[in-house]
């Protein structure tokens, strides 16, 4: 699940390394509230469960998951805040 074709710019970064799901999703949700619509949150996680939880969160909140990258130890997400939050 690696997609490096997306724009990797971010307006904020949240490092949730070491945190187990669903904690990263919860913290990402709080961080997105601080952003304006159209701004991008870069989320870093180490729990593989985030690969299912983060896309599900984005679907539920109306935010857009711009890209996902998977390294040996991390999962990296770029989430654009939707217009309706």
């Amino acid at each position: 699940m690696t997609d490096t074709t997306h724009d990797q710019r971010a307006d904020a970064t949240l490092d949730c390394s070491g945190l187990l799901c669903p904690l990263p999703v919860y913290k990402a949700s709080l961080a997105l509230r601080q952003l304006s619509p159209g701004q991008v949150l870069h989320l870093v996680t180490t729990d593989p469960g985030a690969l299912e939880d983060v896309p599900a969160m984005a679907r539920q909140t109306g935010d857009t998951l711009l890209g996902v990258e998977r390294t040996e130890t991390n999962q990296l997400f770029w989430i654009e805040k939707g217009p309706h939050r």
Binding site: C21, L23, Y26, G49, A56
Partner: protein, 324 residues
């Protein structure tokens, strides 16, 4: 004109004096009141008024036992207490933890009454409001539980009360609520009715009463899926709590929101009992049971309605408002 005070009002209860708020916690020698209902239902039906406990709910018992168990098993020095709660357990834990200067974080389901969140924050707790579907890989309605567990798994200083798994929750009711009911009814209780939440009350009280008399009927009250009755859980949309022993339950009665809130309103207006909606659900369930004559019933009145005024207001419409 003079009034004669009945002898049974002049007991040493009039001299009750306490050195610490924890001394107000109920036990067999200081039971929560058992009050007979006289108007809303027929028969010999009593409510155990748990909202007169010091922190306002039946959860005072579980919280005290859980905290004592954590102190015994893992120690609380330097710890940070975490609990998933619909409010009442968190309130009691936060109050008790404050006495020990232990920080508390509670994860609560999204949409619990504002009143409960304010009470928790007043007691110094950090309140994490959690969407029920936060963890899509888990069961719906268990988001707060999943979040609390993930928080504790992420850092050693966090310790979980874990009321859904912690057997001290059951023990609290086995050693206090059950014996209180047995003694207060002088062993006459035939039916015990309570809402289904963590399963601690129904399992602890049910086990105690059935050990005294196997024929006592134990009834659990379950809400509808998507309900608006704080403190209750629908087994259709949440995992069965690990401490819940379904074998102890003779009848599982489902009460939907409307009859629960209708009965709550009747209890306020006809019995002058300012109970919360889960008590309405319990009394509505009692009204549906096939109870014979001479069969005393005890229902749990878990908390008062003052924590739910925003919910109650939704059911009132324009009732009680002046009209032009």
């Amino acid at each position: 004109m003079t009034t004669t005070i009945p002898t049974n009002s002049v007991t040493d209860r009039g001299l009750r004096r306490y050195a610490d708020v924890r001394d107000l916690l109920p036990d067999v020698d200081n039971p929560s009141p058992l009050l007979r209902l006289n108007r809303v239902v027929t028969g010999e039906v009593y409510l155990k008024l748990e909202w007169l406990n010091p922190f306002g709910s039946v959860k005072d018992r579980a919280a005290a036992a859980i905290l004592a168990g954590l102190e015994r098993d893992v120690g609380l020095d330097g710890r940070h207490l975490v609990e998933a709660t619909s409010g009442n357990t968190g309130i009691a834990l936060a109050a008790l933890a404050a006495l020990h200067r232990i920080p508390v974080t509670v994860t609560v389901p999204e949409g619990i009454p504002e009143e409960k969140k304010v009470i928790l924050r007043m007691l110094g707790a950090e309140v994490w409001e959690t969407p029920d579907d936060l963890c899509p890989m888990d069961m719906p309605k268990d988001g707060a539980i999943a979040l609390a567990r993930s928080l504790v798994a992420s850092e050693n200083r966090f310790v979980l009360g874990d009321q859904y798994r912690n057997h001290d929750n059951v023990t609290a009711h086995y050693t206090t609520t059950g014996p209180e009911i047995w003694r207060q009814t002088e062993g006459r209780v035939r039916w015990f009715v309570t809402g289904l939440g963590t399963g601690g009350t129904v399992t602890g009280v049910g086990r105690y009463l059935k050990e005294r008399d196997r024929s006592i009927k134990v009834v659990a009250v379950e809400p509808q899926p998507g309900h608006r009755i704080p403190g209750l859980k629908s087994l259709a949309e949440a995992k069965q709590p690990e401490i819940l022993d379904l074998d102890l339950i003779d009848e599982l009665v489902r009460v939907d929101d409307e009859p629960a809130y209708d009965t709550t309103r009747r209890l306020w207006r006809e019995e002058a009992l300012t109970v919360g909606p889960s008590t309405g659900a319990v009394v509505a369930a009692i009204g549906r049971l096939d109870i014979g004559e001479e069969e005393p019933v005890v229902g749990i009145s878990a908390d008062s309605g003052f924590k739910y005024t925003t919910y109650l207001a939704e059911t009132l419409g324009d009732e009680g408002l002046p009209r032009p």
